[in-house]
């Protein structure tokens, strides 16, 4: 029966009972939460093909009877760990690719050591990526390699592709990749050249500490961490919610330090001078113009990306020299675009249908 106010009085006892049950479950599950480890992440079987300092190259073991001719190299962002693309079975992008018949490699990063503070942009673009490409070629026996870059991994892949215009990159896929750094408004303001003394910072600390990187990301949405903890408490009775929370929270807080010289170059060349967008970027004295990239390219961006806003990413496709190029805007945020339940339905099938046709 509905009261004149619209309140369903008959449902109130049922609602109270449900809330009491949830309160009891919260207490039980709350204890469980603190006494157990989260789900095991990044467990798709793989072999370490090569490891050198901050760089690791993995090869994932095929899960299909037949694979595409062209292997895929995933270039991870230098600020975060690659297991965001390999969460748990059923929510692993890597597993998805393997089951769809791709031969998958990943260039992943570990924390640069203090003695690696002098790593420069040149080391990443002209040494690490080409080295991995050569090793993928040798391991797979194929000359062509498709490259997938996530976030700043996309920027590194673009720089690599624009300098190595004669190959061997066959296809390029960028996920949420910024090129117009003026449009990353908060990061741009944090690193305002009038107030941010990058030289002093790098000279003082060597590698930029992960706490500083994490704080910068969290400042973009300062209330969200507190709210997510409130939501965790509300939903702690729900095992699926807790599992998902733990996966993403662990990854988000597992931020990597950045090599000092590399950070200096990012700040000066990209944040201050916006060189990639202005076509004045060079790495190791070699011009890195986006128009030099002529291979097929797919750029996937997220509608609600607070880290790489659409305005920072939207000019990529227009500036690329390829005839075969496509941008796809999908619902979701910076992370939910590539990982989690929505990515399974949205990005992954789109990527498969685009890349499969270009991998034979």
């Amino acid at each position: 029966m509905n009261a004149p106010t619209g309140l369903d009085l008959a449902a109130i006892p049922e609602r109270i009972q449900s809330e009491v049950q949830r309160a009891i479950m919260r207490s039980i599950k709350g204890v469980e939460y603190f006494s157990t480890a989260g789900p095991s992440l990044g467990s798709t079987p793989k072999d370490v093909l090569h490891s050198r300092g901050t760089m690791s190259l993995y090869h994932y073991r095929p899960m299909s009877d037949e694979i595409y001719r062209v292997p895929v190299l995933i270039v991870m962002a230098t600020t975060n760990r690659g297991y965001i693309l390999d969460l748990v079975p059923g929510q692993s992008f890597i597993e998805f690719l393997l089951r769809r018949g791709y031969d998958v490699y990943m260039l992943d990063w570990s924390a640069p050591r203090p003695e690696e503070k002098n790593l420069r942009m040149e080391d990443y673009v002209l040494d690490f990526i080409p080295d991995c490409i050569r090793r993928v070629q040798a391991d797979s026996g194929e000359q062509d390699v498709s490259v997938i870059g996530y976030c700043f991994g996309g920027v590194l892949s673009l720089l690599y592709g624009s300098i190595h215009k004669d190959g061997p990159m066959k296809n390029l896929i960028c996920f949420t990749t910024p090129i117009d750094f003026r449009e990353m408004k908060l990061f741009s303001n944090f690193s305002d050249r009038r107030y941010f003394d990058v030289d002093r910072l790098v000279d003082s600390v060597g590698n930029v500490p992960p706490e500083m990187i994490l704080s910068s990301f969290e400042l973009l949405r300062p209330a969200s961490r507190t709210v997510s903890q409130i939501q965790l408490w509300e939903n702690i009775w729900n095992d699926e919610f807790v599992k998902s929370y733990r996966m993403f929270d662990r990854w988000a807080t597992d931020t990597l330090p950045l090599a000092g010289e590399y950070f200096r170059a990012i700040t000066k060349d990209l944040m201050w001078d916006n060189k990639l967008f202005n076509d004045t970027m060079s790495v190791g004295g070699r011009a890195a113009k986006l128009e030099n990239i002529t291979v097929p390219i797919l750029h996937a961006v997220a509608e609600h990306d607070h880290i790489v806003p659409y305005d920072a990413a939207k000019h990529l496709i227009a500036k690329i020299g390829s005839a075969d190029k496509e941008e796809v805007i999908l619902k979701g945020g910076h992370v939910s675009l590539v990982a989690g339940a929505n990515a399974v339905k949205r990005l992954w099938p789109k990527l498969d249908s685009w890349l499969g046709r270009r991998s034979t």
């Binding site: 106010t5 619209g6 309140l7 369903d8 449902a11 109130i12 049922e14 609602r15 809330e19 090569h50 490891s51 050198r52 300092g53 095929p62 299909s64 009877d65 037949e66 694979i67 595409y68 001719r69 769809r100 018949g101 031969d103 050591r113 203090p114 003695e115 690696e116 090793r135 040798a138 797979s140 194929e142 408004k185 908060l186 303001n189 944090f190 305002d192 009038r194 107030y195 941010f196 003394d197 002093r200 910072l201 000279d203 003082s204 600390v205 400042l219 973009l220 949405r221 300062p222 209330a223 969200s224 709210v227 409130i230 939501q231 509300e234 249908s353 499969g356 046709r357 991998s359 034979t360």
Partner: protein, 126 residues
């Protein structure tokens, strides 16, 4: 069941969501100002400067205690890294030689053939 308009839990969740949006939006506006950048970087600069001074003092202390300095440890780490790199190269060369000679790699599973076609060309998705 109660609907979302009268459900106190749903109302609470909506309120939290709105507060989050409102605070984030307010904070973003504040953080976009040059004053915020100036204050943030002044604080950050002081912290970095203090860290450097503490580091210098610590180095002098370690020297007086006859302990290796950070620079010396870094030197050792660099040598270790170089050795690791060379080991990696040797491992890679051995794998290459093994592959070239046709020797079977212990534990290595045979690779599937690279003959897959996309579903539209080759029938159903496997």
């Amino acid at each position: 069941m109660t609907d979302k308009i009268t459900d106190p839990v749903a109302l609470w969740q909506k309120m939290v969501g709105e507060m989050e949006k409102g605070f984030n939006s307010f904070a973003t506006k504040a953080m976009e100002t040059p004053e915020f950048s100036q204050a943030m970087n002044r604080a950050g600069g002081v912290a970095a400067g203090a860290q450097k001074q503490i580091g210098d003092l610590m180095e002098k202390y370690l020297l007086s205690m006859n302990l290796p300095s950070r620079e010396q440890m870094t030197g050792i780490a660099e040598r270790l890294q170089s050795i690791e790199g060379q080991l990696g190269e040797i491992k890679s060369m051995l794998s290459q030689m093994s592959a070239n000679s046709g020797a079977h790699q212990v534990g290595a599973a045979p690779r599937p053939p690279r003959t897959k076609r996309p579903p539209s060309e080759g029938g159903d998705q496997k």
